[in-house]
């Protein structure tokens, strides 16, 4: 029996021990919250994870450097390209491999499109949590399907592309697909973003549910290890794409979306603005895509020099760090993923107490969990 935290600071009233468990409609995957509730207010919240721990880090030590990319797709199954990209960047830095210009631009394009699909899934999850019966959920899913058609045309698979290679990418994107994507992003996507904004931040009931709920300052978030849109919504413009630019981000002009308020509504506004920002970036990427080959020749039995390195990438959820160690053989010696929401979840026992059950789901929805990345 897992030990259940029972706090005495409940002023003597009897508390209800509630398992908001792995099989629950709004825990976005197999997350288990052990809540101690006084009536409807949460007294203590203890997240229990590990229900999807497939041991990816141990399996990576059983694969060659190239085969690990298959595992990275299934790590954070909502933003696959950013996982692949983080891993490839780490290995390329360790092995000292320089990429051709076009490969960097292609990777950046897919990374930004993946940010759009990941934020759309967050949007669908948040609207389901506050109670709309799925109408915004299905609208967001429709837009995501359009982008998945593009992924499928380029990489051959909808969700598990396995498209990036160490030293470049697997397939090129022909200009007709790019032109079609460009018209979608320029003409239809902003209109759909307006409907999403109207359905969420424009709706009075949502504003009454989210305004002033879970207000946290930037110092608190940094101290508790939260990064990404949750931190940017508290006013701190911390974004790796601008602080430590990689890929083609240095050549793009984009604005880091922040929001001074720091409540749940601000987090929604930041992510909705990031949707538009990513679309704008993709258009610039499509226009300025340089010519050239898409990958550099890398030996199949790649043996990076012994040593280790740690590379941080901006995934849709925050700062995704990959720590790779090699002992000169064809298999990684150690593969470690620093998941942004693993540490975001460690902040939850401090952020959730004192809120109603309905507010707890709204605040917890703010860190946009995807269990594959937390449990690895």
């Amino acid at each position: 029996m897992v030990n259940f935290p029972r706090s005495e600071a409940t002023g003597g009233t009897e508390t209800l021990l509630l398992n908001v468990g792995p099989q629950h409609p709004s825990t976005h995957g197999v997350l288990h919250f052990m809540l101690e509730m006084a009536g409807e207010t949460v007294v203590t919240a203890k997240p229990v994870i590990g229900y999807l721990h497939r041991g990816i880090e141990k399996l990576a030590e059983n694969r060659t450097w190239q085969q690990v990319i298959v595992l990275t797709d299934r790590q954070d199954y909502v933003a696959q390209f950013s996982n692949e990209w983080a891993y490839c960047r780490a290995v390329e830095r360790l092995a000292g491999i320089e990429l051709p210009e076009r490969a960097e631009w292609l990777r950046t394009l897919m990374g930004e499109l993946n940010r759009i699909t990941s934020h759309l899934i967050w949007y669908a999850g948040v609207t389901m949590d506050i109670g709309t019966l799925g109408t915004p959920f299905i609208y967001a899913w429709e837009t995501r399907e359009r982008i998945f058609d593009f992924f499928e045309a380029v990489t051959g698979a909808r969700m598990m592309p396995n498209w990036m290679r160490i030293g470049g990418v697997r397939t090129d994107i022909d200009p007709a697909l790019l032109a079609d994507l460009r018209t979608f992003l320029e003409r239809d996507f902003p209109k759909e973003c307006d409907t999403y904004e109207a359905l969420l931040t424009g709706n009075e009931i949502v504003v009454s549910r989210m305004k002033g709920v879970g207000v946290y300052t930037a110092e608190e978030c940094v101290h508790l290890g939260i990064t990404g849109p949750f931190l940017r919504a508290s006013g701190l413009a911390r974004d790796l794409r601008r602080d430590a630019p990689y890929g083609a981000y240095a050549k793009l002009d984009f604005e880091v979306c922040t929001d001074p308020v720091g409540d749940s509504l601000a987090r929604c506004r930041v992510r909705l603005r990031e949707l538009r920002e990513s679309a704008r970036m993709c258009i610039q990427l499509i226009d300025g895509m340089p010519e050239g080959d898409i990958a550099v020749k890398v030996p199949k039995a790649l043996k990076p020099p012994a040593g280790d390195c740690y590379v941080r990438t901006e995934s849709p959820r925050g700062e995704l760090g990959v720590f790779v160690a090699s002992d000169g053989t064809t298999r990684p010696y150690r593969y470690r993923v620093r998941s942004p929401i693993f540490y975001g979840l460690s902040a939850m026992p401090r952020l959730l107490p004192g809120h109603l059950l309905a507010d707890m789901l709204v605040i917890f929805g703010g860190i946009d969990t995807s269990m594959g990345e937390i449990d690895r």
């Binding site: 209800l16 509630l18 629950h24 409609p25 709004s26 409807e40 609207t127 389901m128 949590d129 506050i130 109670g131 709309t132 019966l133 799925g134 109408t135 299905i138 609208y139 429709e142 709706n203 009931i205 949502v206 009454s208 549910r209 109603l356 059950l357 309905a358 507010d359 789901l361």
Partner: protein, 324 residues
Amino acid sequence: MSAALWLRTIVGLVALLALLAGVTLFGVWWERKFIGHLQRRRGPLHHGWHGLLQLPADMIKMIAKEDTVPTAADSLLFQFGPVAAIVPAYAALAALTFAPGIALIDMQHGLLYVFAWETMLPLAFALIGWSCANKFTLIGGLRAAAQLISYEIPMLLAALGVVLTAQSMNLTTIINAQTGWWYVFKQPLGFVIFSVAMLAEMNRSPFDLPEAESELVAGYMTEYSGMKFGFVQLAEYSVLLVGSYLIAALFLGGWNMPFLPASWLWLALKIVLLMTSTMWFRGTFPRLRVDTLTQMSWKWLLPAALVNIMLVAALALWLGPKVY
């Protein structure tokens, strides 16, 4: 009780039962189709014409589904739960007048009789929630009790405005008093308060906290399997029917239609339109939080209802019965 009265009652009750089952079947199908098309998808399609055969299939499956009774639950109350949910709404149907002459019981205080049954609902949901010994149902049941209690007073006071102008509680006289201007034009504030409170009584969105899908798994009916879940759905749709009828009869002029002969068809049309609008709300509105819900009733609807009564009474006395 004369033999003719016995016959009339039995036939009436069976007809009401058929009406209830029909409204539930039609309601569930129409809701899934309507919300489907609201969400750019088709809803039930492949079983029968546009999914019409979907409903008998659901009913047969639910009837032939095992009836699990948790050992920790209080089995007597657990089995009695659906009865407590269906009987109030079904019995309230008996006093509704669906056409100029057609009503099972045309009693002087029809409205009071319906409201009496309506106050049984919080008891039923709290009982269901408490008996299942499941934490989600307990929270759901208590939420249902709090919500229905909070929204009962504004509903009664808003209906008082109508009773005051029509000078009687008999549904037929109330509807006949609306041959000219409907009460929705004479008492717009009363109409708004009554429909908001009735929406809360029916547990329809945005007030569907008791069966909050995303927080409490399935609210107070988490432990109900098979036909018990069917019963609760039957209860929900019968309350929906009674609620839509009341809004249509009290404020939208029942079977009167301007410039057209009065017939029960208009009443049926109004009821269907009102039910569809609740489904439309269910498809778009998110859910209110518990405290905003109770605050809204006690701090806004109740004072507004009292002010509405004083206003209506003053107008009635000042303008006299012919005009107002």
